[in-house]
């Protein structure tokens, strides 16, 4: 078991930089999720940790050992692939035991480990089957089993659930979470699904364009996004982002207003000047319909989910605002709606897009 440290990691394909200097520390036993849109470099980063991609520049340590030049098999990592990558000509038993066989583990010990993995993943009855005879979920279990038996220091998951249907994905998600709790191993998990990231992670690493945008716990990212990218990426439905201006500034307070927003006064934050243009971020779930009007608009979409009602409203300034209101709210298309929020909960971003 071991933690990892990445220092100034770069990856280039010719002149194209894919990973542009990643610094990251992962503690032993942590569940870390790399999340970001397609092409952000999250899978590349994972594959560099696995040893499947060369590291162009920087230092990667697993435990206390620099492993830049170490072969994948000697890194003490196991990986679960998006496509499962099961060996089609081998039975489940042989698939799971392949690594042990290569490591020349004696047969009785190998048997015991394979049975143990099969028990943990409830697939004892599948051991004689070939991958072609398994369903998607069963294949995923086998792929995880293959990782477990080797007792690696670090588990790597590359979008392992994206080929599964929605309900199975939910089941497997909770199983992976339980597995982490029972094994206590370091796990690194790549996904583009921010809900997976939020539910599984001890620590989320948000990547965009090969650069780490923010590292933190799921709630930290949710409540205190470091920049506009993270604010927009984490949370579903997306955070509402509205342009505002600083209309008044005193020693302790500042007042923000815009065409769409009734003036609000907040404690003054650092680095803000009179007349600055800022972006105000407020989550759809932070908006309330309690009669107080901070923003107002015309309803152009209503989605009723039973436990909540998602309303899209167009403000006079032309921006669209999403509100997730609790329960079944009596409202119809084209109704006027006034929404309130707690000014203490909002996020503010400066012109560079960074949180202030």
């Amino acid at each position: 078991m071991a933690g990892l440290s990445l220092t100034n990691i770069h990856k280039s394909y010719g002149k194209v930089d894919v990973i542009k200097g990643v610094d990251l520390t992962i503690e032993h036993g942590e569940f870390v999720v790399f999340v970001g849109p397609s092409g952000c470099g999250k899978s590349t980063l994972l594959r560099m940790i696995a040893g499947l991609e060369d590291i162009t520049e920087g230092e990667l340590k697993i435990g206390d050992r620099v492993v830049n030049q170490v072969q994948p098999r000697d890194r003490g990592v196991a990986m679960v692939f998006q496509s499962y990558a099961l060996y089609p000509h081998m039975t489940v038993y042989d698939n799971v035991g392949f690594g042990l066989l290569l490591a020349k583990t004696p047969k009785p010990e190998r048997d015991a480990k394979i049975m143990e993995a099969a028990r943990i993943l409830q697939m004892e009855h599948l051991l004689d089957r070939k991958p072609a005879q398994l369903s998607g979920g069963q294949r995923q279990r086998v792929a995880i089993g293959r990782a477990i038996v080797r007792k690696p220091d670090v588990f790597l998951f590359d979008e392992p659930l994206s080929n599964l249907d929605a309900s199975l994905r939910l089941d497997m998600r909770s199983e992976i979470s339980k597995l982490h709790n029972s094994l206590g191993a370091t796990m690194i998990y790549v996904t583009h699904d921010q809900v997976e990231a939020m539910t599984l992670a001890d620590k989320i690493v948000v990547l965009n364009g090969g650069v780490v945008q923010q590292v933190g716990s799921p709630l930290e990212l949710y409540h205190k996004p470091a920049n506009l990218f993270v604010a927009g990426f984490i949370g579903s439905p997306k955070m509402n982002l509205l342009p505002v201006k600083v209309t008044d500034l005193s020693a302790d307070t500042m007042t923000l207003a815009s065409e769409a927003l009734e003036p609000i006064t907040l404690p003054r934050r650092d680095g803000i000047g009179q007349g600055d243009s800022l972006t105000l971020g407020v989550r759809p779930h932070q908006l309330l319909k309690d009669g107080t009007k901070r923003i107002a608009g015309k309803v152009d979409l209503v989605e009723r989910l039973g436990n909540e009602t998602i309303i899209s409203a167009i403000l006079p300034s032309g921006e669209t605002v999403l509100a997730a209101l609790a329960g079944d709210v009596a409202i119809a298309l084209n109704d006027d709606i006034a929404l309130n929020f707690d000014p203490d909960e909002i996020c503010l971003f400066n012109a560079e897009g960074n949180a202030v």
């Binding site: 040893g51 994948p72 089609p88 293959r146 080797r150």
Partner: protein, 292 residues
């Protein structure tokens, strides 16, 4: 089965089968003619070619032509030579070419694309153009055999084997197949602790049955049908293969019955080899294990 069958379906199927039968007959007729003729005396054989009887086992049938063929030429020796040369070359070529293709498909090294391009370019060079330079080359090459170090490879088995152990077509076939295999399988195996050679032997080879069968059939045919090269490099009949042996039957008076008997005999190994591999070919079409 669907209960509703369009009236056209039956007619279409019949037409399709008819077409297939016609094509099959076109391909089968020469073989049929050869086998049937091998049992006929020379006069009858020539007389029958004017009618449909050429394809029918009628008249005075016997094994006389076969007996005569064995008297005229060391048929068993030729077949033995051909089988040794072909089997060793096919086995060696499958191993060497698939390993080379594995490197081209999965390993990263400088100049890979250039080397592969040059290799494939050699496909368009006819063998006849390089036969003479190759002959001069093998005439001077050293070989360590039972008699110690010797120079010159002529009149041996290995002169008919070694130059054909690697060829561009076979490598190219394997490269194309390997490139379509899911890379994750190789990566999974490497993470499981496999060396590159173990990735090759335990993961790639077992799932590449179809391409091995295809390459084996093509290589077998190419080797078994060799004529020019063995003619150039063997002077004594001790190492001559079946195709060169055909010369024994084209003397002043051509005994067509014996020719047909000889041809029937030497066709047999090819048919057996093909039938064996065809079964392997069909049974080895494996699922890739990757969800699409």
């Amino acid at each position: 089965m669907s209960a509703v069958i369009s009236p056209n379906t039956g007619v279409n199927t019949a037409l399709r089968y008819l077409l297939l039968v016609v094509f099959a007959l076109i391909f089968v007729f020469p073989i049929l003619f050869m086998v049937v003729s091998s049992f006929k005396p020379a006069q009858q054989l020539l007389r029958d070619t004017a009618s449909i009887a050429a394809f029918l086992p009628v008249g005075d049938l016997s094994f006389d032509n076969y007996a005569a063929a064995f008297r005229r030429a060391p048929v068993a020796l030729f077949i033995f030579n051909s089988v040794v040369i072909t089997v060793v070359t096919v086995a060696g070529a499958l191993f060497i070419c698939s390993m080379a293709a594995f490197s081209f498909a999965f390993l990263e090294f400088k100049g890979k694309e250039v080397v592969l391009a040059v290799l494939i370019a050699t496909l368009i060079v006819p063998f006849e153009t390089i036969a003479i330079p190759m002959l001069m080359l093998v005439n001077n090459l050293p070989w360590i055999g039972a008699g110690g170090l010797q120079f010159g490879w002529l009149n041996t088995y290995h002169v008919q084997i070694v130059p054909f152990l690697a060829d561009a077509l076979t490598i190219f076939l394997f490269v194309q197949y390997f490139r379509d295999l899911p890379r994750e399988l190789i990566e999974a195996a490497r993470l499981d602790g496999a060396t590159w050679f173990q990735v090759y032997t335990r993961v790639i080879v077992p799932i590449s049955g179809p391409v091995f069968a295809t390459a084996a059939i093509l290589k077998f045919l190419a080797m078994y049908n060799q004529y020019l090269w063995p003619l150039l490099v063997t002077q004594s009949e001790q190492y001559r293969p079946v195709m060169v042996g055909l010369q024994y039957f084209f003397q002043l008076n051509i005994a067509w019955g014996e020719v047909m008997a000889y041809l029937s005999i030497i066709t047999l190994p090819v048919l057996i080899f093909y039938l064996v591999l065809q079964r392997a070919f069909i049974s080895s079409i494996a699922s890739t294990g990757i969800k699409g």
